[in-house]
């Protein structure tokens, strides 16, 4: 019972208008940085990694603050985030291997 009350206090304490607007300005700033890097840096593998990294940072704030994941119990957040982390690792592995498809496909 005590635990539930604590949770409710947390929930109402965390989601203030101030936090929401701060998160908004942060997300907007990251989008502007995306925009700036796009025009200031020539296309390269490093630039792509920067974009993906900034995307991960944006998703941290959207999921953590807007979707309230930061304040949920660890049991819930790990149930959602761990499978997603495995999927991301799978995508990275598939793309790394899939790069070699081109050799097989076009040379045949």
């Amino acid at each position: 019972m005590e635990h539930t009350e604590n949770h409710h206090n947390n929930e109402h304490g965390a989601l203030t208008k101030k936090t929401i607007w701060a998160t908004f300005w942060l997300l907007l700033a990251i989008t502007v940085i995306d925009f700036a890097i796009y025009f200031m840096m020539p296309a390269s593998g490093i630039r792509n990694f920067i974009f993906i990294g900034l995307g991960v940072v944006k998703s941290y704030f959207i999921v953590g603050i807007f979707m309230h994941m930061k304040y949920e119990v660890v049991r819930l957040s790990s149930m959602i985030i761990l499978p997603m982390a495995f999927i991301l690792a799978l995508i990275a592995a598939l793309l790394y291997e899939g790069d070699r498809w081109s050799i097989i496909k076009w040379i045949e």
Binding site: F24, F35, F51, V73, R75, M79, M84, I87, S102
Partner: protein
């Protein structure tokens, strides 16, 4: 024996309350969003594979540079403005996410007037985003005035078989991934309208809490989250 029973009842898994400390509906929304994230992951994997294939030195047709394809802006004809329009769309979606979370915050205060005001703004944001996407698709399908000659035939714009920009997979994946995302936005707008009507008619006021706003809010933020990655992979990279 009785000691053991007492110990068990303290465990979060002993039943009687949610071990995840959220309501059933919210938990199921999270599970749904996880499965939906898997769907989008598979689409983005397919996109990555096709793009790597086209990047090979042996590929018959190169993957187009997004800044050469998506460089239009409404009312500014003949100007090359890459990324500007999608950045505007990103801004609209992030802003509608903010109004959504403000509606959730107002729901915690049981403030009916604020909830309906912010829900209304969220619906407007969703419709604005869908309109932008419709314009973007129209430009993409119509193509340029010059077109491009492929196998002796002049091709304008794009369909599922052939397009003037690059390999067929480029247009196919654009239609499928942004279309699937746009369909999610459309569903979100419909859900938001349902919630808005319920808020106005006082359904949640009588119920005593605005948890339905939170559940639909989770879905709406997820749509925003997917757009972050669509924006990254289709327009930035």
């Amino acid at each position: 024996m009785s000691e053991l029973a007492v110990q068990n009842s303290n465990s979060p898994w002993s039943g009687g309350k949610s071990p995840f400390n959220v309501s059933y509906g919210k938990l199921m929304m999270w599970i749904f969003l996880l499965s939906d994230a898997f769907t989008f992951s598979s689409l983005l994997t397919a996109y990555g594979c096709q793009r790597f294939l086209a990047a090979s030195d042996f590929a018959p047709m190169k993957w187009p540079d997004p800044s050469k394809v998506f460089n239009h802006f409404p009312f500014l004809h003949g100007m090359e403005l890459p990324l500007l329009f999608v950045s505007l769309m990103t801004f609209i979606l992030i802003f509608s996410s903010v109004t959504m979370v403000l509606a959730v915050e107002a729901g915690h205060r049981n403030d009916k007037k604020d909830v309906s005001y912010y829900m209304f703004l969220t619906i407007i944001g969703g419709i604005a985003f869908l309109s932008c996407q419709a314009w973007e698709w129209t430009k993409f399908i119509q193509g340029s005035h010059e077109g491009r000659i492929i196998d002796g035939v002049k091709v304008f714009g794009a369909n599922l078989n052939i397009n003037e920009y690059g390999p067929a997979a480029f247009a196919d994946l654009f239609f499928i991934v942004t279309g699937f995302h746009g369909f999610h936005v459309l569903s979100g707008v419909v859900l938001n309208i349902v919630i808005y009507v319920n808020v106005q008619s006082g359904t949640y006021e009588r119920r005593g809490h605005y948890e339905m706003v939170e559940k639909v809010g989770l879905y709406w933020h997820f749509v925003d989250l997917v757009w972050v990655f669509v924006f990254t992979f289709f327009y930035l990279i």
